[in-house]
């Protein structure tokens, strides 16, 4: 569409991009959505119901044969990671936003829980979050659909944890436990993270983007891999330049404002690639902070067998993956570190039996021992909060390029003293809780591994130490926004997507108002 100038161009169609597109389009704003991957037909694209033995190498590919999407880090498909996420949806609490002041380590967010609470609620109403009202100060309740019952194994862990004064609650997920007019309830078929072909689990493509397209206010440019956010001599962004995913031909969308929502690391990479004489170190990077303050979650991990279930009949319990959660509890206890951790557990599906390798011996006894333990297997994954530090950052690899000729993003991760104290403590607690639940421990991971990617383009009131202001708006370039995990000044230990969606809704409101007032 040559000549057309959109009000807003959003780059990326995941949790943030999808919410932004819908909230803006329904508010009468003209939106272009640039997505590197193809449009995906959720009901037919994914191998949701495949079994490993349908494939000679026993590996279930993400996409059905001949279906494009999710083929590389830079190009996933409309819906982004919400197509394959596990849908865990927590509200962050006051402690998470103001941890810098409370703990004296890390930094505060420029906003507080009360700023985001109305948007958390709006998102819950739109996406459908099931969960229990637990009344925990650290994990604010919301507007929930009924929780999904705990598994037998969850109840056993809950009982064990209770002996140590640790709470196990129902997980909260953006998966419908009751049907709506357009989405069925979850039917517990089991493989949520392979892509939910009935959209009981939220994905941004079906729930936000497709309905928003019907307004006529949203145009989706799929298969369009963003390579640069363009900047004018007047220090304003003017649009986004992209490459067609299959033809590699160049294209451009022009817009009065741009929102970068490519998923933490890729957003940072796109800004770093968008160099100009004004910003030689990357767009909107006068602070030099772009790429710094990368604070991914790190996980530990324990694999075990619940003795109460060894030798019992196998249950049909993989549907919906994890049904329970251990919210952060250390922040109220004496500890020698800042921050805390939470535990996701029992999310394994029963189509994989990788742990069988680790059972000792061979022959009939080995076979018997795997069979007996199969119904009792359980994984435990504590998530810790990383503090920002100098040697954990994102940059571009100037040597290596991806399939599209664009520089690859590099993640540099170092664990500091506080991180390792959390890691050791969360591993120790995990083993204690499982032992208290009468578990036979199989493996305890001795090294942390990074998970949810956060930080790298943080919000903050001070333009010298933060890339974005409290509205996710660039301090340097006033018609440029970034919304996704990269904007988190501190990570908390909670799965971030609900907060990303609430931030997207809040930013959409801000952008719509700014446009209406003619202040963009």
């Amino acid at each position: 569409m040559p000549g057309k100038t959109f009000d807003v161009c959003i780059v990326g169609s995941g949790a943030a991009g999808g919410v932004l597109a819908a909230h803006l389009a329904f508010n009468g704003v003209d939106v272009a959505l640039v997505e590197g991957g193809p449009r995906i037909d959720t009901r037919t694209a994914f191998n949701t119901h495949a079994m490993p033995f349908e494939f000679p190498n026993r590996h279930i590919p993400v996409m059905r044969p001949g279906v494009a999407g999710f083929d590389s880090e830079r190009s996933r498909g409309v819906g982004g990671k919400t197509q394959t996420w596990n849908a865990v949806a927590w509200r962050q609490s006051h402690r998470d936003f103001k941890g810098g002041s409370i703990d004296g380590a890390g930094v505060d967010w420029p906003i507080d829980y009360t700023d985001l609470a109305p948007y958390y609620e709006a998102i819950e109403r739109e996406v459908g979050v099931c969960g229990n009202l637990d009344g925990l100060e650290d994990l604010p309740d919301g507007v929930f659909l009924p929780p999904v019952p705990m598994k037998c194994s969850d109840v056993i862990v809950q009982r064990g944890a209770a002996k140590l004064g640790v709470k196990v609650i129902h997980v909260r997920k953006a998966t419908r436990s009751t049907p709506s007019a357009t989405r069925p309830a979850c039917h517990f078929c089991g493989n949520c993270m392979a892509g939910c072909d009935v959209v009981a689990k939220y994905n941004s493509a079906d729930v936000h983007i497709v309905p928003a397209m019907k307004t006529g206010r949203l145009q989706v440019f799929s298969d369009s891999i963003a390579r640069e956010v363009s900047l004018s001599d007047e220090n304003r962004v003017t649009g986004v330049r992209f490459l067609n995913r299959t033809t590699l031909s160049e294209g451009e969308v022009r817009a009065r404002s741009v929102v970068v929502s490519c998923g933490c690391v890729q957003s940072v990479a796109l800004l770093l690639m968008s160099k100009s004489s004004r910003y030689p170190g990357g767009l909107a990077n006068s602070s030099g902070e772009l790429g710094r303050n990368f604070i991914p979650h790190f996980t530990g991990g324990v694999q075990c067998f619940l003795r109460d279930l060894i030798g019992r009949p196998t249950e049909n319990d993989e549907g919906f993956l994890d049904h329970a959660y251990i919210p952060s509890f250390m922040h109220t206890r004496k500890r020698d570190y800042a921050r805390s951790f939470g535990v996701q557990f029992n999310y394994q599906n029963r189509r994989g039996v990788g742990w069988a390798r680790s059972m000792p011996g061979f022959g009939k006894a080995f076979k018997q021992s795997v069979k007996e333990r199969y119904p009792a297997f359980l994984t435990f994954s504590p998530y810790g909060e990383m503090l920002p530090k100098k040697d954990t950052f994102i940059d571009l690899d100037t040597e290596r390029k991806d399939a599209y000729g664009l520089p690859l993003a590099r993640r540099h991760v170092a664990y500091g003293e506080n991180d390792m104290k959390i890691f050791r403590d969360m591993q120790r607690w995990s083993v204690e809780i499982l032992k208290s639940a009468n578990a036979e421990i199989l493996t305890v991971y001795d090294k942390p591994a990074t998970n949810h990617e956060l930080g790298g383009c943080r919000m903050g009131t001070d333009a010298r130490t933060a890339v974005l202001d409290a509205n996710c708006r660039s301090h340097d370039v006033r018609n440029l926004y970034v919304v996704d995990g990269s904007v988190f000044p501190s990570a908390s230990e909670k799965n971030p997507t609900h907060t990303i969606m609430a931030l997207a809704a809040r930013t959409a409101t801000h952008i719509a108002e700014t446009l209406r007032k003619g202040e963009m």
Partner: protein
């Protein structure tokens, strides 16, 4: 490859039976969740790609000793040797380990031994693996073949469904609440 084409057909069929968007009532009748019993990967006749016929016979015997037939079929019947060969064919890094181990077994006239003698030959290798003290080529061979056998067996229909009793991938209108009295309170 015929088996592959059959697999594609099955997957395609699942896709066309789904409709979206639909209400909950419409869903349950339309959804094909249960893996079909049509010919799939692990029931096709197999010609080794990496291993020679002789080596394939040795690997088959080792795999069947690791997961033998009991009241359910063992590794060979579950197609594990074919799985091992196809994984090896696709990964150069396994070649040296497998060939070294196979040469060693050949030097011990493995296939000519009694079952008890075969088990006796493998037992010290397995013990080294369990103690995480894998040093020699035969020990490395056993580790790799045991891992591949476990992977291949428990991802086969025989291993996952018949042996372990996998029950998932179905439609449940409600998730069953734990009612075991001993798990309450």
């Amino acid at each position: 490859m015929d088996s592959r084409r059959d697999t594609l057909k099955i997957i395609g069929a699942i896709g066309t039976t789904c409709a979206f968007p639909f209400g909950a009532d419409e869903l349950y009748g339309q959804h094909a969740h249960v893996p079909t019993d049509a010919k799939v990967a692990d029931s096709a006749p197999y010609k080794p790609k990496f291993l020679s016929e002789g080596e394939f016979a040795v690997i088959s015997r080792v795999a069947d000793l690791i997961i033998p037939k009991t009241d359910t079929p063992g590794a060979v019947e579950a197609g594990v040797p074919a799985y091992i060969d196809s994984v090896a064919a696709a990964n150069d890094r396994h070649h040296g380990v497998l060939r070294a181990g196979l040469r060693w077994l050949e030097s011990k006239k493995f296939l000519k031994r009694s079952e008890a003698a075969q088990i006796a030959l493998l037992t010290p290798l397995s013990e080294a693996v369990d103690k995480n003290r894998v040093k020699t080529p035969p020990q490395r061979f056993f580790l790799v073949v045991k891992n591949m056998t476990a992977d291949g067996y428990y991802t086969s229909r025989i291993g996952l469904v018949r042996e372990l009793g996998y029950k998932g991938n179905t439609v449940l209108s409600r998730f069953p609440v734990c009612e075991h009295p001993e798990h309450q309170g």
